[in-house]
């Protein structure tokens, strides 16, 4: 049996957990490649026109995996203890199921819902049983997978700390993991920043507990866990970077409000608000990033004058 894992959405949050869980259980899996033009194109064909770019890309990855595995992993999240989640993640299981019904898609799923005690461990237990494994083996695999994930998170934080102590321009990139790390969405931005000699600092790599607390200093009633973490990261890193880039996929629900709030409440540091719809040419993006970096450089030379 082979599991297909779409390299999109929650993959970027959980891939160490998923991959080592399946490895420990001796289950074969295949991960779809980095987003490319073809995956993006298939996604836009499958998706509802108005859906956000990120979810179109997700459906593109599902499309890619069809026929290449026995089950495709599509987790469903109702929300977290830390906050709610964009309704996309509540709906995604059924969106995928209905969109690909004629292709007879087979989904491997688990459900996270803090209200129904569907916590992660129990959900993984259920999933493992569905895959024909014994409770003891699943528990062991889960614990190891969890450990792996934790270690990787700590290492990422360490690497980021090193970057922060480096000389030179540093830009905080504020966006959902699945956008920042997607080759099609965030890829060109990371690339261009590096070419311009700036070091990207990833907001999502932060002490999550601290970020949740810190976010309240910027906004009190933020409902979404992911956005709370990102807003908190701004508070954590703002003194350590030279500028902030907000990057969202069009037309992202939560970001439409949260970015506006950030622009209104985070003062004294240059902020660029990038909304990506997958259509923009790379030339336009490069120009915008270039002039943003120029502004920051001038500002630095002027001795940190207020913007």
């Amino acid at each position: 049996m082979k599991i297909g894992i779409p390299r999109s959405f929650l993959y970027y949050k959980y891939h160490y957990l998923w991959e080592s869980f399946f490895e420990e259980l001796g289950i074969d899996y295949v991960v779809s490649p980095f987003t490319n033009r073809e995956i993006y194109k298939q996604g836009t064909i499958r998706a509802i026109d108005e859906a956000c770019l990120s979810s179109k890309i997700y459906l593109g990855h599902i499309d890619y995996l069809l026929g290449k595995c026995d089950y495709i992993l599509v987790p469903r999240v109702f929300g977290y203890e830390e906050g709610t989640i964009c309704t996309k993640f509540q709906a995604i299981y059924d969106v995928v199921n209905n969109t690909f019904r004629d292709q007879n898609i087979k989904i491997l799923y688990y459900n996270i819902n803090p209200r129904e005690t569907a916590n992660e461990f129990r959900s993984f237990l259920k999933m493992g049983k569905f895959l024909g494994k014994k409770k003891a083996a699943i528990t062991r695999a889960y614990i190891i997978a969890k450990q792996t994930q934790k270690v990787q998170q700590i290492m990422a934080l360490k690497r980021q700390e090193e970057l922060l102590s480096k000389e030179g321009l540093k830009i905080l990139l504020v966006g959902h993991q699945y956008n920042v790390y997607d080759r099609y969405i965030g890829g060109p931005i990371l690339q261009t920043l590096k070419e311009l000699g700036a070091t990207p600092i990833i907001a999502d790599i932060c002490d999550k507990k601290e970020a949740l607390e810190e976010s309240k200093k910027i906004s009190e009633t933020l409902p979404w866990a992911f956005n709370k973490e990102l807003v908190g990261a701004i508070q954590i890193y703002r003194e350590k970077v030279d500028g902030i880039i907000l990057m969202s996929s069009f037309p992202c629900g939560p970001d439409s409000l949260v970015n506006e709030m950030i622009l209104r409440r985070v003062k004294g540091i240059p902020i660029l608000n990038l909304i990506l719809d997958g259509q923009e040419g790379s030339a336009g993006l490069e120009t915008r990033l270039e002039s943003f970096i120029d502004i920051i450089k001038i500002r630095k030379e002027d001795g940190n004058g207020q913007m």
Partner: protein, 356 residues
């Protein structure tokens, strides 16, 4: 701010400003400013100061607030709720502040939905001398009012396209809503409603034998605020179609049948998909089974939960061979575009009907 000078406003939403006015004036003992009906200006004002691609209820709300302030309001209320609505309040408060409006903003998102007393605390900010007894009794009257308004609304929707003398139903409807503004007790509400129900039933209507039935589904605000959906129900009714709509405050909040919805749509949907998506799918499926002639789906542009309901609606449309017309409204939507699509839809369901 002295309580005698407190003038409260809440965004416009269908005809629910009438029960709200009752609750605030009779229950909370403050003056209530009903924002003027939403117009092009409301939307333009709201859109001008809102983030570009936010869902349009946000823009309408903001426009209503500004127009209510112009009309004298100094205390604004936002409900909070699921989805993006939960974050509307804090941002709207910030935007109004940045615009230089000096108003008091009551954001119910700060209250805890699991603990109704925290709502009471929020209301106490409006009037510290609040009497719980008075609030409770006017709340009961207000809820009755909501139910009655929704009931009369259903009748109007299903008959307005067939009156012999055009305009009669609408006139009575307006009269009814106006007279509700004078009630004191729940009994008054019931009496007035009974009276107008009879008057409405006496209006001469002529329905053809082969009636066309269209159900309307979609996102909470857009479906219930006629201006935001370009008076789509009225347009359909004018063509001699009976319009059915399940979505209203009575059905969605006061007597929610969430469990039944979930059971009904099980062949299509496993999990709750956010906001109104479940009700949208539920009614579409029920009406498809009942052999309706078509479904109209409305939402504001970018509304995530309703976008996610669409692949399911497409399946139902396929399985039951029922046409579904999808509308997505934003501040740019053109009137002619809507008319053209409605015409085409009408012609299609008409042709299908004749073939059957």
């Amino acid at each position: 701010m002295g309580m005698d000078k407190c003038k409260v406003a809440f965004p416009r939403f269908g005809n629910y400003h009438i029960p709200l006015e009752f609750l605030f004036t009779k229950g909370l003992g403050v003056e209530y400013i009903t924002p003027p009906p939403s117009t092009r200006r409301t939307l333009e004002l709201g859109a001008k100061y809102s983030p570009d691609y936010v869902c349009s209820p946000f823009k309408f709300n903001l426009g209503n607030y500004i127009e209510a302030i112009e009309a004298g309001a100094n205390t604004l209320v936002q409900t909070g709720g699921t989805c993006r609505l939960g974050y509307y309040g804090e941002l709207q408060e910030q935007i109004l502040k940045d615009l230089g409006y000096n108003v008091h903003f009551i954001n119910m998102s700060r209250a805890n939905y699991n603990n109704p007393l925290t709502f009471y605390d929020e209301f106490k900010k409006i009037n510290p001398n609040l009497s719980l007894k008075k609030v409770t009794s006017s709340l009961i009257t207000m809820l009755k009012m909501v139910e009655c308004i929704d009931e009369i609304d259903d009748f109007v929707r299903q008959n307005v396209g067939f009156e012999v003398h055009e305009g009669e139903i609408e006139k009575l409807h307006e009269e009814y809503l106006n007279s509700l503004r004078t009630v004191e007790t729940k009994k008054d509400v019931e009496k007035i409603t009974k009276n107008y129900k009879k008057k409405l039933k006496d209006v001469k209507v002529k329905k053809p034998k082969n009636l066309m039935k269209v159900g309307i589904v979609g996102e909470y605000y857009t479906i219930m605020e006629p201006f935001s959906n370009h008076f789509i129900e009225k347009e359909l009714a004018k063509k001699g179609i009976v319009i059915y709509r399940w979505m209203n405050v009575t059905n969605s909040i006061l007597h929610n049948n969430g469990k039944e919805q979930k059971k009904t749509i099980k062949p299509y949907v496993k999990y709750y998909m956010g906001a109104t998506s479940m009700a949208t799918i539920y009614k579409t499926l029920e009406w498809a089974k009942e052999g309706f002639d078509g479904i109209v789906h409305v939402k504001s542009f970018g509304c995530t939960p309703e976008i996610d309901a669409m692949p399911v609606l497409q399946r139902i449309s396929n399985d039951y061979k029922i046409p579904i017309l999808y509308f997505s409204f934003d501040s740019q939507t053109s009137e002619t575009g809507i008319q053209t699509r409605l015409e085409a839809f009408y012609d299609m369901i008409m042709m299908r009907k004749e073939k059957r």
